[in-house]
């Protein structure tokens, strides 16, 4: 038997500490409202058509809207220099511009800013000035309902999720986790305590999901990164990858254990981890390469999506080796009860000291 070169299992408490240090800021951020910044898919907003006299591209218009605080606006070309725009709800917006003196609404501010940058806007008849002598602004201005509508009353039980797709995604993930748990329990039935494998894989899955959501919660507070419909999909991808990765590592543990290698379960896990390290690294590296390629070339619009995938793939690979497998060992060696005992003993001790000191 080769002695383990690297004792990964022995350092498991350090790995837990790393995970906790990485997870806690995100979890704290999730507790502080607004928990995540939701994109325009999830809320009602405003929509309008805008047509310019001068040649204007979609990218220019998007940049222009970003400078007036609507970086998340969705812009679709609909013809020559004509665009269909969907934004967050504009403040004080009426479907008709107010007649007479009134404080400029956000709509007018944006109209003025865009006119200053791209020149006159024209209406359906090609005029730049309407019958009241006002410069032409947005055409067909209207409010619009959320693209993703709430259909499930999950908000009450899970306050950090919004509605519709997120709620459904969360319940889908809960169901999928249960199914994965049961399947792994069955699949690892030849090993002692098979349900631990299912549980550890699900814990790793939650670890990864909360890490990604947490990071986006922090980014939302710091640089206004928004949760879009695509982010939800990226999260599902991350979960799929996380479980896939955990299972591959577990499979090797199953093999090592059933071959009777290693004096203890921990040693067997350590051997398995070292043996699968190359594969774990290579698989995540190939995915990281693929995502980086998309990130560098794929354009701005899907950047959030790709960042979520990238973070997820890295943490997914990390968690299968440094969380899921270590939890198996901790469970086997009764780490948690021991930890509690130690904690309680220390508390007792402090209590004892606290009682003792005033007397002394």
């Amino acid at each position: 038997m080769r002695p383990p070169v690297l004792d990964l299992v022995g350092k498991r408490n350090w790995f837990y500490l790393v995970s906790i240090l990485v997870l806690v800021p995100g979890l704290i951020s999730l507790l502080i409202p607004p928990r995540v910044k939701l994109g325009i898919d999830f809320s009602a907003g405003s929509t309008f058509t805008v047509r310019f006299e001068e040649p204007t591209t979609r990218e220019e218009l998007k940049d222009g809207l970003a400078t007036v605080g609507h970086a998340d606006a969705r812009v679709q070309g609909t013809g020559q220099n004509e665009f269909l725009v969907r934004t967050q709800e504009l403040r004080g917006a009426a479907s008709q511009p107010p007649v007479g003196p009134a404080p400029p609404s956000e709509r007018e501010e944006i109209e003025d800013a865009l006119r200053a940058e791209f020149g006159n806007m024209v209406d359906a008849q090609g005029r730049t000035v309407d019958e009241r002598g006002q410069p032409v602004g947005f055409i067909e201005f209207s409010s619009i309902s959320a693209t993703v509508s709430g259909k499930l009353g999950l908000q009450k039980s899970f306050p950090f999720i919004c509605c519709g797709i997120t709620g459904n995604a969360v319940s889908a993930v809960v169901f999928a986790s249960l199914a994965i748990f049961v399947y792994l329990w069955y699949s690892f039935r030849t090993v002692a305590q098979p349900f631990r494998f299912g549980a550890a894989a699900v814990i790793a899955l939650l670890h990864d999901a909360f890490l990604v959501v947490g990071v986006f919660s922090i980014l939302g507070k710091m640089i206004d990164t928004e949760i879009t419909k695509d982010f939800v999909v990226a999260l599902l991808t991350v979960i799929g990858f996380s479980v896939h990765d955990s299972i591959v590592v577990f499979d090797r543990i199953r093999e090592t254990v059933s071959r009777g290698e290693g004096r203890t379960f921990g040693e067997a896990v350590n051997t398995s981890l070292l043996q699968t390290m190359g594969r774990s690294m290579n698989t995540s590296l190939t995915l990281v390469f693929a995502i980086l390629a998309l990130l560098l070339i794929g354009g701005d619009s899907i950047r959030e999506f790709l960042w979520a995938m990238l973070i997820g793939v890295v943490t997914g690979a990390y968690s299968s080796v440094f969380v899921a497998s270590q939890i198996l060992v901790s469970w086997d060696e009764d780490d948690l009860p021991r930890f509690w005992r130690r904690l309680l003993r220390r508390a007792d001790h402090e209590e004892y000291e606290a009682e003792a000191s005033p007397a002394g």
Binding site: S143, S145, K151, V248, T283
Partner: protein
Amino acid sequence: MRRWWSRLLLLAIIGLTAFSGIVVWPSEPDRYLPDQIPWPEGRGIKMKLPTIEGGTFGLTTIERRAMSLGLDLRGGTRLVLAPADARIDDLDAALEGARRVVERRVNEFGVAESEVNRLGNDRLSVQLPGIDPEEAIDKIGRTALLQFCEPVTDAGGNVAVVRNGTVTYEGQTCEPQRDAQGNVVATAGAVEFLPWANDENDPSSNFIVWQPAKADLDGVETELTGRFLRPNTRVDRTVTPDNILGDPILNFEFNPDGADILESVTARLAPRQLPLAFFLDGEPIRGEDDAVIAPRVNQTLSAQGIITGLENDEAQDLSTLLNTGAFPVALVVVQQQDVDATLGDNAVRNTVIAGEVALLVIMLFMVLYYRLPGVMASLALVCYTSFALAIFKLVPVTLTLAGVGAFVLSLGMAVDANILIFERMKEELRVGRNLVVALEDGFNRAWSSIRDSNISSIMTALILYWFGNQFDESSIKGFALVWIIGVLISMFTAIIVTRTFMRFIIGVRPLARRLGLFAADLPDDVRRAGRPAPAVAGGAGGGPAKREER
């Protein structure tokens, strides 16, 4: 025998890849590939697939010019719908109901990934990916009023016919225009009354003048329409004793009121076996031969009935229309326009190029790290990509950004399966196994983890699909579908395709002699020997030797 089988498989794989390549080849290759090379232009695919209709063999043509892409990648059509009459009592509820009907309808027709929003207080905005406006209006705009119609007859029981002209029907019904005396007027030609003898001399159903089939319901003369139908209309196909799929049969079921009316109507028609026709939005439903479908009633019917003679697609569409129901308010299209992709005009191009680069990077990595097996895995990856894209194009699966995400994930899993196999193979080679044994062992021993991880992936994807379906979230549904297809194909390519390639390579002696081509860091003695070194194996691992004993 086995060798033959391998060769045959290799040929089949090459053939299938070439076919998939032709299917997915873009019509404007310069957009996606380096334009220094004059790439041939793809022409899409036009295939004749054998079908069996009514016991005879036929051919249906499938034509696919472009990938089916979502609103975010390619854009589509935008329609603004408004109620024809805005003075109804509860406009808000009616519009919300209409929004749900539109949403159901666009998704049931298979045009997934569409968006339906309330626009202001009194309008709906619908965005549909990749179809032209007429098609979109046709899909959404139909009010789905199904009417059951009987022939107009005179006092003598003769059937009204217009042979060289037309009769105009009122609105979207089968009520013909009549003059003050109640006689049917033809816009051209003349209305004749011909006897109905229930034989081959009867006038063709195409010429018959129809009127709504009515009967007394609780003292009120009531027309028999689709509103009495239960929403469980479905299409069945009979199977002949020779196991051949027969004609589609549209089954419908009435609620008790509808059953009463149908009973009275059929009781009236059955003695003379007069026909019954079906009008949808004022147009008679026609069969494959373009003749008006008008089955003769030969018995009294009540709750249930069938319509036969439809083409399969038509039967499915009609069934959907009847099940999704009519609009609570009549809608008119007030605006229609083409819209570009929500991710920008260049979204497709950027995504495709990024995908190509990603694929090349992965291939480069595999070749550098795993050498000759890496080359084989890269070839298998090419097979994988072309198979998957060909299936997406042929089904068709509407690809959105979410789908691309799922595709990248399945790409990763396809590579992962190969990495697992090769790592195992390297381990076997390192302890001095011979190449053939190492290869087979690598595949066999990696199988359990490939199986478990892929089964759990498919399970997760099925649950996601079910949820997406349950709550009309087409992006989750699309994601799950692409993931399932991807995982299934990746299992095929990563295992069968790679193994076939590897077996072929191992059969080429000059390559098989150089073990260094298969693994980089082999112990010197193993590499030099190029054959099993049992003594080394026992010393280094211990494991493999033990396994052999078992």
